[in-house]
């Protein structure tokens, strides 16, 4: 109940190998200790997957969003935290490729490919309740040097990244939504963990609150503002990659239920075990999840080909995708557990426990309500759904 072998090609196959051989063996330890999946990061770097979205002329893999979505999904099958790292990093890389049209940012994209640098983002901020479209902090001149002090609400693997991307108000007198995006090198940052990340699931993302300060290098500031990037492709890519994690994790849950049913069927040849029908139901839910992802990938590819990544209908589609895949995941994981029975309720290696806990994070790790509200507003003016 996973990818058919013929689907696992190229980047997906490479990520699958890493997932199976590197991420899966470490996943329980990553989860138990809420530690960063360092070994997966190293393997992704070695396979040059961290630069998959960078064009070949800049030294990257020249992959499509669909390719990277497949890789994220394959990794999520083995370790959701590792897959989220790849999704979040790839979102930053996609942003750099699409909007980093300055000599400084072009050079940085080349450097990311060459050195396989990992990028984290610190867009959320304490006091704004998870709303990344506004900032309180602002870039200020300190002794003539543009500087930023920020208290990020959650910064996934911020302590482990080579580069940090963050939003801030452009100037101390700018409006909260007049946000620039700056990239900061690890060595230019003073970072202090400002809280702990002790969650039920998705523990390896290490998304603790952080306080940091840095001097801003004007060459590493995007030439367009955050809202513009969000509405011109970045948000669509992000929600597709995030949803790819939820689809891959749902596939892992169904895989366990499938194995259990096959074993039960072998024990009672000639009599179909009752759990087989539950599995058939589960397959139809997984199909909804996979189908939603395929529809969104297709909508993105069409919008990209027509140079219409700012299409409101695309944004509505990808927000709906995130809500659908996360809600389906919670259902699928719970139902997989009921199929596996009391064995699935066991803790420890090979159980469904981690998947069930991780699944619940999917509806919260960027709240579905935020996306539903945005779609509720957009649908009042959109003419076609």
């Amino acid at each position: 109940m996973t990818f058919r072998v013929e689907e696992r090609q190229g980047l997906t196959e490479a990520a699958w190998e890493i997932g199976a051989n590197v991420s899966a063996p470490a996943a329980d330890d990553v989860d138990a200790n809420a530690r960063f999946p360092e070994e997966t990061r190293a393997a992704l770097a070695q396979a040059k997957i961290l630069s998959a979205l960078i064009p070949a002329e800049l030294g990257g893999g020249g992959a499509s969003l669909s390719d990277v979505s497949g890789a994220i999904r394959a990794l999520a099958f083995h370790c959701a935290s590792s897959a989220l790292m790849l999704a979040m990093h790839s979102n930053e890389v996609g942003q750099l490729v699409q909007f980093g049209d300055t000599p400084g940012l072009r050079a940085l994209a080349g450097e990311v490919a060459e050195k396989q640098l990992l990028i984290a983002n610190a867009n959320s901020e304490v006091g704004l309740g998870g709303d990344a479209t506004r900032s309180n902090c602002a870039v200020e001149e300190i002794e003539g040097v543009p500087s930023l002090n920020k208290h990020a609400l959650a910064c996934s693997y911020g302590q482990h990244a080579d580069l940090l991307s963050a939003t801030a108000r452009r100037r101390p007198d700018a409006e909260p939504n007049d946000q620039l995006v700056a990239l900061m090198r690890r060595e230019s940052l003073v970072i202090e963990e400002a809280g702990e990340w002790n969650t039920m699931g998705l523990r390896g993302t290490c998304s603790a609150p952080l306080r940091f300060s840095a001097k801003i290098d004007p060459a590493l500031v995007y030439p367009v503002d955050f809202a513009y990037m969000g509405e011109h492709g970045m948000m669509a890519r992000w929600l597709i990659m995030l949803s790819s994690v939820w689809v891959g994790l749902a596939e892992a849950a169904v895989d366990q239920a499938h194995r259990h049913v096959r074993k039960a069927a072998r024990r009672s040849v000639g009599t179909l075990p009752p759990s087989a029908t539950r599995l058939a139901e589960l397959q139809s839910k997984l199909l909804q999840s996979r189908g939603a992802l395929a529809v969104a990938l297709d909508a993105y590819a069409r919008a990209a080909a027509e140079d219409h990544l700012d299409d409101t209908a695309l944004l509505v589609t990808v927000r709906g995708l995130k809500v659908a895949t996360s809600k389906l995941l919670v259902d699928i994981a719970s139902e997989a557990m009921s199929i596996v029975g009391i064995m699935g309720f066991q803790r420890g290696s090979g159980s469904l426990e981690r998947i069930v806990r991780d699944a619940h994070g999917s509806v919260l790790m960027v709240s579905n309500d935020r996306y539903l509200q945005a779609n509720a507003v957009a649908l009042t003016v959109l003419k076609r759904i």
């Binding site: 409006e175 809202a227 509405e231 011109h232 299409d311 409101t312 507003v377 009042t380 003016v381």
Partner: protein
């Protein structure tokens, strides 16, 4: 309706729905309203207000940030829409 009247109506809609931090009277026709504090949510209310005020419907392909970023951008969009209405 003249262009000047259109701009005046647009300004009234933005004043009512745009949730700007700055009085629109202090902003020029080319001023970036998003930079002046208009959120994406507020821009949707502005779209609805304009549809109502001008009795038009923005087709989906016009529901973009650039179309609503300034008084002039909205005036251009409305002019092009009204020109196509039979």
């Amino acid at each position: 309706m003249t262009m000047e009247q259109s701009r005046e109506t647009i300004r009234e809609v933005v004043a009512a729905q745009g949730n700007l931090r700055t009085d629109i009277a202090h902003l020029g026709d080319d001023a970036d309203l998003f930079d002046a504090g208009m959120s994406s949510h507020a821009s949707v209310s502005v779209m609805m207000g304009l549809e109502d005020a001008f009795d038009i419907e923005f087709p989906d392909e016009m529901l973009k940030r650039d179309v609503f970023k300034s008084v002039n951008a909205m005036a251009d969009a409305i002019t092009s829409l009204m020109a196509t209405v039979p």
